[in-house]
Symmetry: C2
């Protein structure tokens, strides 16, 4: 039994006493407590793979910041690694893949990950759930297949992801075949997260914004939709069976709320309202009233403060945060930023932002 289920109720469109809040990258470098634990691991990948350390930093923001949910400390790139494509995280630069995927052979060689490949994640979830002891829900997550694909092809971050997009233009069939493998892996992974105790799921499409609306439908939303269907207990894997992809047998998992965050995909808001998800997360470039009108009343909205707002004086943080809360209204809103916290934002300001939201009443 959860003592604080505000986020779950808000996600489902039920009544809440106040707007719930959590923050992307709340378990991260803004907390000195995080940096201390981080030092215990030899590198970022080792840190992610250590269930005890991952569990410890997952819980920190619940104790220190008072957020209404924990989000599992992990990385979206555990999926390529489980598929056979390991990555490194290079300090101040970002992810790096020594090998990339460009040819049919390289796609064939990748395996569909199953939940067991990522037992360090499910072990961390079990530890977190035990330690949280029902205080707040735990959010599990994955990258959207397009975003994972983009890293696997490009081999690193990029402003344009031109190599990944080149593959979409020059070999759409191979692109679909890789996207399907990533999708199947992700379904297995997210099912395992829910089976281990994740109370809701967020899908991060960090590089949604580099695609045209048409390409986004074909190469991203299609696969996010398969994931939503599969997690909501529908088949959603007809394509997998057709393609002889090995997918895990459907586990008897509860149907948990799903949040989709497609950064910069302003053009997809209307289409996204058709997904079998519960929450759509917005960034600060998207007008709140316009987004509500495009998405309709059937989804909860999440977001959307600019992380840079938290560099401001407290009076400005308060004014802008309350303006945001009023613009979203009292129903179907989960307060958050429109992107992850930046590492140099002061912890005190983060706490003030959260407290402002928790103290606000309509």
């Amino acid at each position: 039994m959860l003592k604080n289920d505000l986020i779950l109720r808000a996600a489902r469109g039920e009544k809440v006493e106040r707007t719930p809040v959590w923050l992307m990258r709340q378990a991260g470098r803004i907390l000195p407590e995080y940096r201390k634990v981080r030092e215990k691991a030899k590198d970022f990948v080792a840190f992610v793979k250590n269930p005890e350390l991952a569990a410890e930093v997952t819980i920190q923001p619940v104790d220190i910041l008072g957020v209404d949910a924990a989000i599992l400390f992990s990385d979206i790139l555990v999926i390529p690694e489980a598929m056979g494509l390991p990555y490194k995280m290079i300090e101040a630069k970002g992810p790096y893949f020594a090998k990339t995927v460009r040819t049919e052979k390289e796609v064939e060689r990748l395996r569909v990950a199953v939940g067991d490949d990522l037992s360090y994640v499910t072990d961390a979830i079990k530890l977190v759930k035990k330690e949280l002891n029902g205080r707040v829900p735990l959010i599990g997550f994955s990258g959207a297949p397009w975003t994972i694909f983009a890293y696997m092809i490009e081999g690193s971050g990029s402003k344009t992801f031109s190599q990944a997009k080149k593959m979409l233009y020059t070999n759409p069939a191979l692109s679909h075949s890789l996207l399907q493998k990533i999708t199947d892996s992700t379904i297995n992974y997210l099912k395992a997260q829910v089976a281990a105790g994740a109370d809701l799921i967020q899908i991060f499409d960090s590089w949604a914004g580099v695609l045209s609306p048409e390409q986004y439908n074909e190469f991203s939303l299609k696969y996010i939709s398969q994931i939503c269907d599969a997690l909501k207990g529908n088949k959603g894997n007809k394509e997998n069976i057709k393609n002889n992809n090995p997918i895990s047998p459907i586990l008897h998992i509860p149907s948990v709320p799903i949040i989709v965050f497609a950064k910069d995909a302003f053009f997809a808001r209307k289409e996204m309202s058709k997904l079998k998800c519960d929450v759509i997360s917005l960034d600060w470039t998207m007008d709140i009233a316009e987004s509500r009108s495009l998405i309709g009343s059937g989804k909860t909205l999440q977001g959307n403060a600019d992380p840079c707002l938290l560099y401001s004086d407290k009076s400005i943080i308060k004014r802008e945060t309350e303006k945001m809360l009023r613009a979203f209204g009292s129903k179907r809103h989960i307060a958050n930023l429109g992107h992850g916290l930046y590492p140099d934002i002061e912890k005190d300001k983060v706490k003030f932002f959260i407290d402002t939201i928790k103290e606000f009443r309509f």
Copy 2:
């Protein structure tokens, strides 16, 4: 007298026999001829500062690709340099400023650039005009003040420009004072370009997309608007006089068409229709019909093919290009990409894209 004035007529909304075309970064690394000239300069900044070399590569795409306009080979960061903040271009990394601007003193120390500070640019323009001999018009350009500000504060490229945005949040007054200095410099610079012979002007707001709609109005559009007013012969510099900023006396320059390209600023399309500019440039994430309806019929639209389309087979380039041309229609359109050409795009494909546009008839 111009032999081909299609782009000028399209910009003004006059009748054209076919859709005109030019490409962002047409004078660049996709041309082996460019790379050969580039080798003659010791580094990028020296290349930009050499009028003969700059003029040579400016003309290359007119001869080699058959575009309907030349665009001056230069860089938007010549403005910070003329204001007293030099930059370097680091291979495969991008611009880098050894010193950045963060304090009041550092803003005060910067001077307002006048046209003469950038005589290497106006010299290049005169050489190009002579060599072109009226074949096609010459496009001059500058960065938008917000984008120049972002580089001067951040000191380099960035995914988030969080330091530049931090300044907007923590010291809006200082931000406005720096933006005004950049704007005054830019007005002087663009007037000098027109006086030297530029037939139209493009303002590049490359980092428009990191701001919220509200911030974009306050910290970017306001200054782009001043530039448009000043170039269109209006005063537009009341603020300058009020702030005792030294601005050049109004030159008797012709009123040339102005193109504004605010990358990723989907949210500003309606507001931008109020600018005293002639053309608004779109990227490929922006739906063409929706953009036309937001912007209205009073502006010409430019764009908006995804540069990655040019990685495709010719049959796909042809199909997608013709689809784009039909979506924009026969009036008030200048064909272009939605971003600059990427260096690894084949010259042959670029030429094919241009020829497809030039051969198309409604």
